[in-house]
C-alpha cells in the first residue's frame, strides 16, 4: 500500500512539473488537438441526432398542448351550442309575442356583426372588418350593447371607428330615465370621458347611467355609454362637469356590433 502511495505521489509530482513546463512551452496542446480530432466525428453525429430527437420531442409535446387546448375548445363549443339553442327558442318566443301584440317586425333592424382587426396608429380609432355594408355615423357597440364609438370612414368590408375616448368625439347625452339632454360628452384621449356643460340645477349623482340621445351626430336614443364616476361642481364656472367611466378596455375589444342607421 505504501509502495502504491509512493508511485501515486511521484506521478502527481511529475504531472505537476509537466503542466508547469507546458505553460511556457505549449507542447501538450497537440494532445488536445488529437483528442478533439478523434472525437469530433462521433460528437457531430451524436449532437445532430440529439438535436433532431429533441426537436421531435418538442413537436410531440406541443402537439399534446394543442390536443389539450382542443379538448377545452370542444367543451366551450358544446356550451355555446346550448346557449345558441336557448337563444333560438327565445327568438321564436319573442317573435310570437310581437305577433300577438301586433308590433311591426320590420321596424327593428338586426345589428351588423364586426370583428376588430386593428388599431389606427396614434389615434383613438379602431379598424373593424364586417360582412355587410355600414354607413358613416352608425353606432358601434360591444356585444353587451355598450356604445364604444361611431363609424368614421366606412368601407365595403372594413371601416374605421372613432372611439368615444377620441378627443374629436363630442355629442349630446342624457341620463337614463330622464330623457332631456343634460350635457355634452367629450373624449379626453384617456379611458375616462368628460361630461361637459352640465346645468347646475340638474340632479346628477355618482353612478347615474349615461345614455345616447338621438341627434345630428348620434342616430339612436338610449344606448348605454357609461356611468357617472365623479361630479365636479364649480362655483366660478357656469356649468358643472363630470367624469364618465365606461369600464371597457378598448385594446381588448375583439368583436363589436354596428347598429344600422
Amino acid at each position: 500500500m505504501r509502495k502504491k502511495r509512493n508511485v501515486f505521489v511521484w506521478a502527481i509530482t511529475i504531472l505537476t512539473l509537466l503542466i508547469v513546463v507546458s505553460l511556457f512551452f505549449p507542447f501538450l496542446s497537440g494532445v488536445r488537438e488529437v483528442g478533439r480530432a478523434v472525437t469530433s466525428p462521433l460528437q457531430g453525429v451524436l449532437l445532430s441526432a440529439t438535436v433532431e430527437l429533441k426537436n421531435r420531442v418538442e413537436v410531440f409535446q406541443s402537439a399534446e398542448e394543442v390536443r389539450n387546448e382542443l379538448e377545452k375548445l370542444r367543451g366551450i363549443e358544446k356550451r355555446l351550442q346550448v346557449a345558441l339553442t336557448e337563444k333560438e327558442e327565445l327568438k321564436k318566443e319573442n317573435t310570437a309575442l310581437k305577433e300577438a301584440l301586433g308590433v311591426d317586425l320590420h321596424q327593428e333592424k338586426e345589428p351588423i356583426f364586426a370583428k376588430v382587426t386593428g388599431r389606427e396608429l396614434g389615434k383613438d380609432r379602431v379598424i373593424i372588418h364586417h360582412t355587410e355594408k355600414v354607413s358613416e355615423g352608425s353606432l358601434v357597440m360591444t356585444p353587451e350593447g355598450q356604445l364604444v364609438g361611431v363609424i368614421d370612414s366606412p368601407g365595403e368590408r372594413s371601416s374605421s371607428v372613432r372611439l368615444l375616448t377620441s378627443k374629436e368625439s363630442s355629442f349630446e347625452v342624457a341620463i337614463q330615465s330622464k330623457n332631456d339632454p343634460i350635457g355634452v360628452l367629450r373624449g379626453t384621449g384617456e379611458r375616462e370621458l368628460l361630461l361637459d356643460l352640465l346645468p347646475k340645477d340638474k340632479d346628477i349623482k355618482r353612478g347615474d347611467r349615461v345614455v345616447s340621445l338621438a341627434g345630428e351626430k348620434v342616430p339612436i336614443d338610449g344606448v348605454f355609454i357609461g356611468r357617472v364616476a365623479e361630479l365636479k361642481e364649480s362655483d366660478v364656472e357656469a356649468f358643472n362637469t363630470a367624469k364618465v367611466w365606461q369600464g371597457i378596455d378598448h385594446r381588448r375589444l375583439t368583436y363589436v356590433f354596428v347598429a344600422k342607421k
Binding site: 500500500m1 502504491k4 501515486f8 506521478a11 502527481i12 504531472l15 505537476t16 509537466l18 503542466i19 507546458s22 505553460l23 505549449p26 501538450l28 496542446s29 494532445v31 488536445r32 483528442g35 478533439r36 472525437t39 462521433l42 460528437q43 451524436l46 449532437l47 440529439t50 438535436v51 429533441k54
Partner: protein, 100 residues
Amino acid sequence: MTKYIFLFLLVSMIAVLQSSVFALFPLWGLVPNYLIIFVILYLLLEKERSSEGVFVAGFSGLWFDVFASTPFGVYTLCFLVGAYVLKLTFNRYVGVSIVS
C-alpha cells in the same frame, strides 16, 4: 489490462456524451457533470485496496482537458488529487466495496 482499456473506453464515451448530448438535457436548469459523478461513484464502490478509481479519475481529467480551454493537464491534476483525497476519506469513513 483489459479492464483498464474497458474503463478508458467507458470514460471516453461518457466524456463524449457529456460534451455533446447531455448538454441538451438540463435537469432543473443545470447540466450535471456525469463524468464527475461516475468518478465519485467508482471511488466509493471499489474495493479498499483497488487503485482503479484513481486511474478512472486520471482518464476523466484527461478528457476534461481535451474539451476545455485551460492549460492542458490542469484538470488531470485536479482529478488525480481529488480522487486521492476521496479514496483516503472513503477508505477511512465509508468503506462500501461493490466494484472489484
